[in-house]
Structures are given as structure tokens and as C-alpha cells.
Amino acid sequence: MPEKKYKKRYGDGTMKPKTEFSEITIENYKDYVFEKSPRSAHWKNMFWAFLVGGLICAFGQLLIELYIIWGVKAELASSLASATLIALAAIFTGIGVYDKLGRFAGAGSTVPITGFSNAMVAPAIEFRSEGLIYGLGAKMFLIAGPVVVNGVLVSVVVALIRSLFLGVG
């Protein structure tokens, strides 16, 4: 069997020859597939993640400033701005816009608190056809459940450790 050089054809467009596989077995098949698979457009993803994530946070900051101007106390303004973003993300998920955003923004749409909201609302809308209790109600925490569970768990452990070391005041 003549040896062949395998070239990358999609992704970042480079044509450098990569590792040559003289024989494909179950052991090296995963590496072979990795070589042949097109890569994600890393730089593009990173740019959009930065831009969209930054804009969502900037908008959140704008909300905080507005709430403070309207007389809300500083700490409450922060929570209220997050809550407002959650509500808006829920509505945008319902309208069908948020998934379009996630298509190119990646972490820019997942990491802000709006991603948490989207992760709760999307399955709720989807599974509503199974009823309000077993569908909507049960599936709402399908993707976001681990966030709440792990959040409470980690906060309990971390806070206990911190209080132990720093002493309770």
C-alpha cells in the first residue's frame, strides 16, 4: 500500500502534511480521526465570545448605574441588574433569538448569567408538551440543575473552611 500524506483541508486552511498512518487499528483510530477532522475556527470563536460577553456585562453595568440613579442601594442594584438580565434572556429565548446568538458567540452567551437563564427556559419551553408538572416543571432544571446543586454544595464547603480558618467574628 503506497504511503499517503494527509493534508488538512478545512478549518484554518493550512495545508501542512500531518502524521502519516501506515496502518489503522482500533488503538490509533481516534488519533487518525482527530487528524482528519476539521478544526473549529478558534480565533473567530474567541473574538465573538469576548465581544458578546463583554457587551452583555457592559449592559449589566449600565443597568446598575441606572438603578443607582433611581435611588436603589448599591448592593441591591447589582442583584437587580442580574435579575433583569435573567428576565430579558428568558424573553429572548422564548422569542427564539437566544439560540441564534449562541450559534456564533459560544462562551459569550453561555458564561454570563443570561446563559443560565437560557439553559432553564429552553427545556421548559420544549418539554411543556409533556404537561406542566412532568414536562415544564421537571425539565426546567435539566441543564441548569447542576449549577444550583454544585453552587450550594461548594458555597457551604468553602464558607465553612473560610470561617474555620479566619475565625467566626
Partner: protein, 338 residues
């Protein structure tokens, strides 16, 4: 893997493929083969309240359509054999309620259509006069079950495929003139080459396709160039490349007459990355475009391989790799019997 040197290819003498009906969704209608489908939907909810109800209705229409196209009555069909992608294959089972024929439900993921042709051929060769083989899938129902809710904002990996929405139904009859005939079949075996990424099913299924093709060529002594067309179900663009390479290493040249149904369904601009996937792919392309070309005589013989990835969301969460299977049928344009 040890080569299993028992002959796995079976031959049929009396199985004619008399009609094929295709029903496809809106995105498939806008694709490359849009004009080859018998019925296409403007709205993939098909006027129903849920996507699941729509999928069932699609199956009912496709079965009725295939029966009508063959100039038969529903009572003429002895058995309906088919499957879909949903848990407990509810779409095809609920659709079969509407017909009086007996029913055999199957599941081999995206290889279900060819599996149904093989089992249908067994029945037709020895027992039944008319057997209907059907398979299909729906993007929205499959996505919800296997991947993510539709409205979730998620970045798709460039190796993913798009589950095709559609149903293809075929009728097999004993002794018919002027129709393509199913002349042989190779039943595949489960192959697992260790792929863990559920988005890269094409790569997981390519070794299974290679195994089945190699088994067939060894059993019959034929070569890829003996056929006008070789088609696989839904390996996608990446899987297709991998298969061409794997077959070349075995000494078979797939560069000239080989297509993949999933890769042929959509245009680049429809953003389906690696192409279509799903139990509908092979059914839609075979019953429409390939069948028409067979009947016209543009294709005189065809090798069709349906590939299926046999994992579930549970096995993926439990860290298992993806086993796959591939089944083969050989279809020839029959000669007029004297």
C-alpha cells in the same frame, strides 16, 4: 479485528422493489435533491401541535403514498416493517395503528432503512406477496432526545451533522417485471473503534461500513468498479473521506462512483456542516433519486449501505464509546422475464 471467514452475504431471486415514496421537510426541500421528493412540507409541524405528532403523521402519509404509487390497496400489504429514531420507536408504531397489516418494528439507528429492506426481502422471498419497508426521522424530535433543547444557545462543533426530517417508504413484491430487484444482502456486525464524541458519528460508523463492504466483496468476488453507484446512508463528508481512505487501504477504489446520502442532501450554504444524518437519509435518497435513476436505466446496479450509531444518551454520559453497524443491499435493474 479477526476477519470472520464465514460467508455473510445472502442472495435473493424473487424480490422486486416496486415503488418508493418520499416525504421530506422544508430544509430538505431547499436542498440539492429537493425536486426528487414526492411530498414536501412547508411547515415541519405538519399542522399538528407537537413535533412528535407531526412525525407520526409523516409516517402515515408515506406509507399510504407508497401503497398508492404501487397501485395497491392498504389491504394488499402483508407486513409493514420499519423504525425511527425515537425511544421505543413510537412514531412508526403509532402510525402502523392506522393500517390493518401486521407490523414488525426495528431499531438500528440510522441503519434502520436498509435493515428493513433486508428483513423485508427475507419475508418477500419466501412468505409474503407485498411487504412495506419504511424508515424516517425528524430533526426536532431527535434533537430533543439525543442532544439539546431547540432554543438552547449552543456552539456546534464543525463535525456535527443535521438530522434530516423525512420518511421514505418502499414496497417489495414477489415476482414483478420492469422493476429494480434486490439481489443480495449482507447483514453487518457491530464494530466499535473507540470514538467517544457523539457529535462525530460519521467517524464512528465508517469502520462498520468498511467491514460490511469488505465482507461483501470477499464473499462475492466483485469489485467497486463493477457497480454504477455505491451509496452509504449518513457518514457525512468526514465519514465519507475516512471510508474512501479505509477502503483504499484494503485495496478497493471508492474514488469514482461513491456517494453518501447524507452528504448529498444539503447545500453548503444551509449550514449543516458535515451533511445530513438520521434514519431518513438513506430512505429519502434511495426512494427518490436513486430509485428514479434505476427505473430509467441510468443506474444498472447499486450497492446501498445503511450505517447506524448504536449509542444512547445514557451510555454517552456513562463514558462509553460509540458502537456502530452497517447493513448492505445490492439492487439491480431487473431484466424482463420471458
Amino acid at each position: 479485528m479477526q476477519f470472520y471467514d464465514k460467508k455473510q452475504t445472502l442472495h435473493f431471486k424473487n424480490v422486486s422493489f416496486v415503488s418508493g415514496f418520499t416525504l421530506a421537510g422544508p430544509k430538505e426541500k431547499q436542498g440539492k435533491l429537493g425536486s426528487t421528493f414526492d411530498l414536501t412540507l412547508e411547515d415541519d409541524k405538519f399542522g399538528e401541535k407537537t413535533f412528535e405528532k407531526a412525525e407520526r403523521k409523516m409516517f402515515e402519509y408515506a406509507v399510504s403514498g407508497a401503497i398508492a404509487k404501487a397501485n395497491l390497496q392498504p389491504n394488499d400489504i402483508d407486513t409493514i416493517i420499519g423504525g425511527d429514531l425515537l425511544n421505543q420507536i413510537v412514531s412508526v408504531s403509532f402510525a402502523a395503528k392506522k393500517f390493518k397489516s401486521s407490523f414488525l418494528g426495528l431499531y438500528n439507528a440510522c441503519g434502520t432503512y436498509v435493515e428493513s429492506l433486508i428483513i423485508g426481502s427475507f419475508l418477500t422471498e419466501f412468505f409474503s406477496k407485498n411487504v412495506l419497508c419504511v424508515s424516517g426521522s425528524h430533526f426536532s424530535t431527535a434533537e430533543r432526545q439525543y442532544r439539546y433543547p431547540l432554543e438552547l444557545g449552543v456552539l456546534r462543533s464543525p463535525v456535527t451533522q443535521w438530522t434530516a426530517t423525512g420518511v421514505g417508504a418502499s414496497i417489495l413484491q414477489r415476482h414483478s417485471d420492469g422493476c429494480p430487484k434486490i439481489v443480495s444482502a449482507t447483514v453487518g456486525r457491530v464494530m466499535d473503534y473507540g470514538i467517544m464524541d457523539v457529535n462525530n458519528m460519521g467517524a464512528a460508523m465508517a469502520p462498520a461500513a468498511k467491514d460490511t463492504f469488505t465482507q461483501y466483496f470477499t464473499d462475492t468476488g466483485k469489485k467497486p468498479s463493477d457497480f454504477d453507484m455505491i451509496a452509504t446512508g449518513d457518514l457525512g463528508k468526514l465519514g465519507k473521506e475516512i471510508l474512501i481512505d479505509l477502503m483504499e487501504r484494503e485495496g478497493y477504489d471508492f474514488n469514482n462512483n461513491y456517494i453518501d446520502c447524507g452528504a448529498e442532501l444539503f447545500y453548503e450554504k444551509q449550514k449543516t456542516y458535515m451533511g445530513g444524518s438520521g434514519a431518513a437519509c438513506s430512505a429519502l435518497v434511495t426512494n427518490g433519486w436513486l430509485y428514479n435513476n434505476l427505473k430509467k436505466g441510468n443506474i444498472k446496479n447499486l450497492l446501498l449501505v445503511g450505517t447506524g450509531a448504536l449509542m444512547s444518551p445514557t451510555t454517552s454520559f456513562q463514558g462509553e464509546s460509540i458502537p456502530a453497524i452497517a447493513h448492505l443491499v445490492e439492487i439491480e435493474m431487473g431484466q424482463k422475464e420471458s
